[in-house]
């Protein structure tokens, strides 16, 4: 009996999927890479995940855990085939423990659903990636996801108290838990951000924070990205840590406004979206500082969101910004890099210059407060040879960021996309210790193989060409 039959026998009908018409939709995530699985399993319980892991291990095939497929680095793309464990059906919020300010969820629970479930208790889950209305907590844990409000509150690892994990042999361990700072090695911290290479997370205990008493959201318009960057430096220089500090350039604004009509001015050279929260008295004072600093930096106009609805619309548009790029380009490569925030203006100048030199339009979104930039290189994949240019331009941007003291990813993870960049920021000894930790937890090497750590022969930007929308030969549709 083959693996599919054994799994079908163990798990019953409607759980195990085979055949191109079923599994081809698991060859992608939100990024550029592609890879077909042999089998897709959609388990409904931890026990079923254990069964899949044991059977897959007995068959010696790769095991790739997947949340909602909203990742951008190819982490959930089964580029070596094997079994995809889709966790979409394990999506329940098991407990909101308001007194202890935490929640227990299944890995497929949706990020935004958790915050909405916590809201009646005056609580929320802090990490708010732009994908939060679709992405799963399990995926957030795997990638140590960030988000606009992680500037003041920290990224996912700061909000995970414990995880339940299925290990390589199908056994189950519970790491961490509701009580703070347990004894022993911090294995919870190790699991967060491990991108499915150490095990399959089947339950997560997360910290919830109290909703702030007051929030002030300011939209400041500038003539240029340089002036907006100056305002960012000014704000940080004044010792102010806004809860979010976002920048968008003109090209990004044109797509955002076309998609959302939320009041972003497409004619501005750049805008800052600055949010402060806390006690009522505190936010009034902070909003005044934001106003003064932005004006001093040359802001053309400053708008304060008047209602909760207006604020919600500004944020919905910001978070949908990258997804709106389909309006202005058939394809784009969304990058993720970090520089010390004082270096932002310099790196931006480089990005502009690189775009001009490679003749590629680049739209920019930034979590400016923590120096996290998201240049989006726009292109039409049907143009011959363009992908090589896009890849080369992207590589050059990342190299400049590293030279400026930065790093290759802020929040999207390494996955398939960034693994060839790992030697640029880590020494062979660094990478060796990571490899040893990985093989200690997964001696089989079957958990998400050929990901994260540099793998000879696996290069981003090549494997995906056959499957990428728009890359079919001309005339295919005639």
């Amino acid at each position: 009996m083959n693996l599919a039959d054994r799994l079908r026998q163990a798990l019953g009908p409607g759980v195990v999927f085979q055949g191109a018409e079923n599994v081809i939709v698991y060859e992608y995530d939100y990024g550029l890479d592609r890879g077909m699985p042999d089998l897709v399993v959609l388990p409904r319980s931890t026990v079923e995940v254990q069964v899949v892991v044991r059977e897959a291990q007995a068959a010696h095939v790769p095991i790739v855990a997947r949340g909602a497929g909203t990742g951008i680095s190819g982490g959930a793309v089964p580029n070596s085939g094997g079994v995809v464990i889709g966790l979409s059906r394990m999506n329940r919020i098991l407990e909101i423990d308001a007194d202890n300010r935490c929640a227990v969820v299944q890995p497929g629970a949706i990020n935004l659903d958790l915050s909405q479930a916590a809201e009646p208790y005056g609580l929320f889950f802090a990490p708010d990636p732009s994908s939060q209305k679709a992405s799963t907590i399990g995926g957030n844990v795997a990638n140590n996801a960030g988000g606009p409000h992680c500037l003041s509150l920290g990224v996912t690892v700061n909000h995970v108290l414990g995880v339940e994990v299925v290990l390589h042999d199908g056994s189950l361990v519970c790491l961490g838990g509701k009580s703070a700072d347990g004894p022993g090695l911090d294995l919870t911290g190790l699991l967060v951000g491990s991108e499915g290479t150490l095990g399959v997370v089947t339950e997560v205990t997360v910290r919830l924070l109290p909703l702030p008493e007051a929030v002030r959201t300011t939209l400041a318009l500038f003539a240029s990205v340089e002036e907006a960057s100056e305002a960012v430096s000014g704000l940080i220089g004044r010792g102010l840590v806004p809860s979010a500090l976002e920048m968008m350039d003109r090209l990004a604004l044109s797509a955002i406004e076309a998609a959302f009509h939320a009041g972003y001015p497409p004619e501005a050279g750049a805008v800052l979206l600055v949010e402060v929260d806390g006690l009522l008295e505190q936010v009034e004072a902070q909003a005044a500082v934001v106003d003064a600093v932005c004006r001093a930096a040359g802001a053309l106009e400053i708008r304060l969101a008047a209602t909760a609805d207006e604020r919600a619309r500004l944020w919905a548009a910001r978070k949908g910004a990258a997804s709106a790029m389909g309006r202005i380009a058939p394809n784009y490569y969304l990058h993720d890099a970090v520089v010390p925030r004082t270096q932002l203006p310099r790196i931006l100048a480089h990005v502009v210059e690189i775009g001009q030199r490679y003749d590629l339009p680049i739209a920019n979104l930034f979590h400016a407060g923590d120096g996290n930039l998201h240049p989006m290189i726009l292109f039409d994949a049907r143009e011959a040879g363009i992908l090589d240019r896009v890849m080369a331009a992207g590589r050059e941007i990342l190299t400049r960021c590293i030279e400026a003291g930065g790093t290759i990813t802020g929040e999207h993870g390494v996955g398939l996309e960034k693994q060839s960049f790992m030697p640029l920021i880590f020494t062979p000894a660094d990478l060796e210790v990571m490899a040893r930790v990985r093989s200690a937890l997964d001696p089989s090497g079957n958990f998400n193989p050929n990901k994260v750590l540099p793998t000879p022969g696996i290069a981003h930007g090549t494997a995906q060409r056959a499957g990428m929308p728009g890359l079919a030969p001309e005339g295919m549709w005639v």
Binding site: E21, A134, A258, A322, G326, P330, M476, W477
Partner: protein, 418 residues
């Protein structure tokens, strides 16, 4: 969509596969399977174009289980025209696949022999009315003689009231004429929900509308378009253009959201023809029209607790969200209690409730759960398919209540209890 049955490359490449549609797709929410999501279905259609998958039974299932509720279009940041892609994708599928004899008969009956012919539909529904009123229905149900698929279809049929049979081509306005409007009556609505048409006509006339009900009008063609049968849809559209244009109308009012959505898209169906575009510009959902004019004052209060099921073809395809709420809020005495996700499909989706029984029922049962939690006694909606499905839902779930079209409640507030 043009004349080609193939999905346009430009439409397909607009999807950036970000996945922000997933949580707004009723079939993905139920199955958790990517192939039952908008992003997955677009990828499948793309893959068929590229020859990477076959139009086999699995492919068909994923494509046909789509409700085409277009909730994904409402939330797509890149503005992907999902409805257009799916309609072309189905047309392509039916060109490349061999349908079973039963399927061919069903499609032929529905799209060619019945929907385009008003008289045949009237005869059929006349027979059904007789079937219900003569007591034959009770006998048949008690006998359990009907084969399962027929029995399921039969159970969806609401208790039929008197059909709407217009006696005049032009009904004068009550009082001074403020507007000259056409009234699109459709194929199923006048026969199954004649009372909704009667209410619509009364409300329009009461608000100063001279109402034209051209006899030459036919079915809008929506069910053909959704089923990937464009040719028949174009014939129907052309007949409707002839029936309504040239009368100097301020608007063509329609009370079926599904018809309205298709009528507004006649331009696309007929290759951007000038007349088709003009017809599309004139088309107004009845809630949209009433919310846009100054209404005569209401005369009585309507003591109902209601919950609004936002018909997909109103809220997603036509992007009309506020109009029904504005009307309901204006009605004295009425209390609106929102259910969770009123914008999520009820599983009706035109012929879907007949062709995809299992999925349709699972979606309906979840919907009825949300409705029960509101405690409302009246479900309000804006489309005959939704009304039929929700009435079936009331019967299935054992909830006491009724289903009304928004315009029926407006009519009640004007003093006529239907």
């Amino acid at each position: 969509m043009g004349l080609s049955a193939l999905p346009a490359a430009a439409d397909l490449s607009q999807c950036v596969h970000c996945g922000l549609c997933l949580q707004n797709c009723p079939t993905y929410l139920l199955t958790g399977h990517e192939a039952e999501s908008p992003r997955g279905r677009i990828h499948l259609i793309q893959a068929l174009n590229e020859g990477r998958v076959e139009p086999n039974a699995t492919y068909r299932q994923h494509i046909e289980q789509c409700l085409v509720c277009r909730n994904c279009e409402s939330v797509c940041p890149s503005g992907v025209h999902f409805g257009r892609i799916m309609e072309a994708g189905r047309a392509q599928l039916y060109e490349r696949t061999s349908l079973s004899l039963a399927e061919r008969i069903f499609r032929r009956l529905a799209f060619t022999e019945l929907l385009p012919h008003r008289n045949r539909l009237r005869t059929l529904f006349g027979a059904l009315l007789l079937y219900q009123r003569s007591g034959l229905q009770r006998l048949v149900r008690a006998s359990r003689l009907l084969p399962a698929p027929l029995a399921q279809a039969e159970s969806l049929l609401p208790d039929l009231a008197a059909p709407f049979l217009p006696r005049m081509d032009v009904y004068p306005a009550e009082g001074p004429r403020r507007y000259r409007v056409g009234f699109f009556t459709g194929c199923v609505m006048p026969l199954v929900y004649g009372q909704v048409h009667t209410a619509t006509l009364r409300v329009l006339r009461h608000n100063g509308c001279e109402v034209h009900v051209p006899r030459e009008q036919v079915c809008c063609g929506a069910l053909n378009v959704h089923g990937g049968e464009q040719r028949g849809a174009r014939d129907l559209a052309r007949q409707n253009l002839r029936a309504f244009l040239g009368r100097g109308l301020d608007a063509v009012v329609v009370n079926s959201a599904g018809c309205g959505a298709t009528m507004k898209e006649y331009g696309e169906l007929l290759g951007d023809g000038v007349q088709a575009q003009e017809f599309g510009r004139l088309t107004r959902d009845v809630t949209e029209f009433l919310a846009s004019i100054e209404l005569e004052p209401f005369r009585r209060s309507v003591r109902r607790t209601v919950t609004l099921q936002e018909s997909c073809h109103l809220v997603h395809a036509q992007r009309i969200k506020d109009a029904p709420r504005k009307l309901l809020a204006a009605i004295p005495g009425l209390e609106l209690r929102d259910m969770a996700h009123p914008e999520l499909c009820c599983g009706s989706a035109g012929l879907y409730m007949l062709t995809q029984r299992e999925m349709s029922t699972r979606i309906l049962d979840d919907k009825m759960g949300e409705i029960a939690r509101t405690g409302a006694r009246t479900i309000v909606t804006a489309n005959p398919g939704c009304m039929m499905q929700l009435q079936h839902g009331l019967a299935r779930s054992g909830i006491t209540g009724d289903v009304k079209h928004v315009v029926e409640l407006v009519d009640e507030a004007y003093g006529v209890v239907s």
